[in-house]
Amino acid sequence: MDAQGRESFDAWVRSCQVSLVRSAFLMTGDSHHSQDLVQEALVKVAARWEKLRAENPDGYARRIIYRDHISWWRRKLAVPVDELPERSLGDPSEASVDSLVIGQALARLTKKQRAVLVLRYFDDLTEKQVAEILGVSVGTVKSQSSAALARLRQVAPEVAAFGSDGETHD
């Protein structure tokens, strides 16, 4: 990577790093692991920067983060990474009750459901973009999203009102 490439890479990193770390945090529930995942993804993006800079480095980075997270989790099945460590939340007194509830609720979703929710509702990606990042069909994105929202209603009674818009529609 030449100086110009590095400059553009650094600019891209600064533009997206907050979003990437926060997405990774929502997927993993672990602040340290999310930093690791993002750093690993950035290394991989850097290695392909000359090609990626003209395409979609954000999407590529998110795909790497998701896949590395799943890969890491599969190697570490004995480690209950789904349980949110308290340190992730910092001082609980500073975190809103809503954040605590959503954090605990997210921890009880499957990894794919959590990823779908994060990419769809936090990163504001389209369903097709989410499908491409996760390597699944748009239908799977929809079904996982629907299941995730239903699961949130189930595990977090405080948020039970979500999505209850009646049994039928015209």
Binding site: M1, R22, L42, W72, R74, G90, E94, V138, V159
Partner: protein, 410 residues
């Protein structure tokens, strides 16, 4: 406590929760990490051992150029600090290497078997057994085959070089390659096709059409959103209005019913859903009701059902009886194989064989892919295609002959 009443509130809560994480500045660091990694590779195993026992320093340059560090106690007792090495946090914390070879490399090393008996499109070409048919549109952009019909396939394509304007189409491709373009959907061509159980009608967005001629049979007042399946017991779709994305059951002529939870259904009304930490095999009943055939609550969730629905394969390749939940065997795949991670698409080719699309994730853009066939009885796997290449991130496998019974176990 605020109740979440709409999608906006989910976004707000996610954003609030995400805001509790501290974000370091990575700029200027990732590239250094890359150089450090290459240097470590050259030094080989000695460095790897030293790195594993080194005091870890997480170093991030701040936006203002500050450097701060966070020491992490070593996992092993009394390590010798190595000030010259600052291995990455993940390299040190992850002491266990992935088991088995990379999945694509494993697939490349398999013996070559017969070509997959499946229909799929890749690189602008529709493959269906021995047939090769040129797809319309621009290969680089969205085009694909989404369902098999007795006379061919339902396809979708774009014919413009960019997506700045709506130039997407849905159509029917016959086995001789001829194409019937379906009426232009307002929302563009998408994976929203469904075909009726008798193959006479197709449905997408707000249209119900004759599957052979493309004639419009019904123009519905609303776009029904994404259609999951058209079963003898009704149509399952996702209502996208207001971003609700709720799964609904609808029998034409009746009022749609919102279903509990969500599941992937297929045209015979069987589906796999997830909830409560379990994957469930479900059967659609009349009126949109659902019967749970089996709960499977292992860490390795169910990925797909056999054509008869009497067996299922899990993400990692275990064959499970349905509804008994008994482990019948496992596919001879690498330990790091998972439909949740590696294979992009899968299909029960017949009663005893499962096809997987396995891409090379090291590549970008035109990704090389292989189709692999694994026997659900012996577990043995073989290559079922030459190396394929496409711009799309995955290809969708469809049964060659949707009408033929594909599972002798019923």
């Amino acid at each position: 406590m605020r109740p979440m009443t709409d999608e906006t509130q989910v976004r707000t809560l996610l954003a609030e929760y995400a805001g509790t994480v501290l974000v370091h500045d990575f700029a200027g660091n990732a590239w250094d990490r890359g150089r450090a990694r290459r240097r470590n590779r050259r030094l080989g195993g000695v460095v790897a051992v030293a790195a594993a026992t080194a005091v870890v320093v997480l170093a991030y340059s701040g936006l203002d150029g500050r450097l701060f560090s966070e020491p992490i106690p070593p996992a092993s007792p009394s390590p010798s600090p190595s000030p010259s090495l600052s291995p990455s946090p993940s390299e040190t914390k992850t002491t266990e290497a992935p088991k088995g070879p990379p999945v694509f490399k494993w697939a490349q090393g398999l013996p070559r078997g017969e070509d997959a008996r499946a229909a799929f499109s890749v690189g602008g070409v529709l493959y269906a057994g021995d047939q090769r048919l040129r797809m319309p549109g621009v290969p680089r952009w969205h085009n694909g085959v989404y369902a098999s019909t007795p006379n061919g396939w339902m396809i979708s394509w774009s014919d413009c070089e960019n997506q700045a304007r709506n130039c997407s189409f849905n159509g029917l491709m016959a086995t001789d390659g001829s194409i019937t373009t379906l009426p232009y959907p307002a929302s563009g061509a998408r994976e929203t096709f469904a075909i009726s159980p008798d193959y006479s009608r197709v449905m997408f967005d707000r249209w119900i059409l004759d599957a052979n001629t493309g004639e419009v049979l019904a123009d519905l007042p609303n776009n029904v959103g994404y259609i999951n399946a058209w079963t003898p017991k009704g149509i399952i779709y996702f209502d996208e209005r207001g971003g609700a994305n709720q799964q609904r059951w609808w029998q034409p002529g009746s009022r749609p019913i919102r279903m509990k939870g969500g599941a992937d259904y297929r045209s015979d009304g069987l589906g796999i859903g997830f909830g409560g930490g379990c994957s469930t095999v479900q059967r659609l009943l009349a009126g949109g009701e659902v019967a749970v055939v089996m709960d499977y609550c292992e860490d390795d969730p169910l990925a797909d059902l056999s054509p008869s629905g009497t067996r299922a394969v899990t993400d990692s390749g275990l064959i499970i009886s349905v509804p008994g939940g008994r482990e019948l065997g496992s596919l001879d795949v690498p330990d790091n194989f998972s439909t949740d991670y590696y294979p992009e698409s899968m299909l029960w080719e017949d009663a005893n064989n499962i096809l997987y699309v396995i891409p090379d994730y090291k590549a970008t853009f035109r990704s090389p892919m292989l189709i692999v066939r694994c026997s659900a009885t012996s577990g043995e796997c073989e290559r079922a295609s030459a190396t394929l290449s496409d711009y799309a991130s995955f290809i969708h496998l469809l049964p060659m002959d949707p009408e033929a019974p594909r599972d002798g176990t019923t």
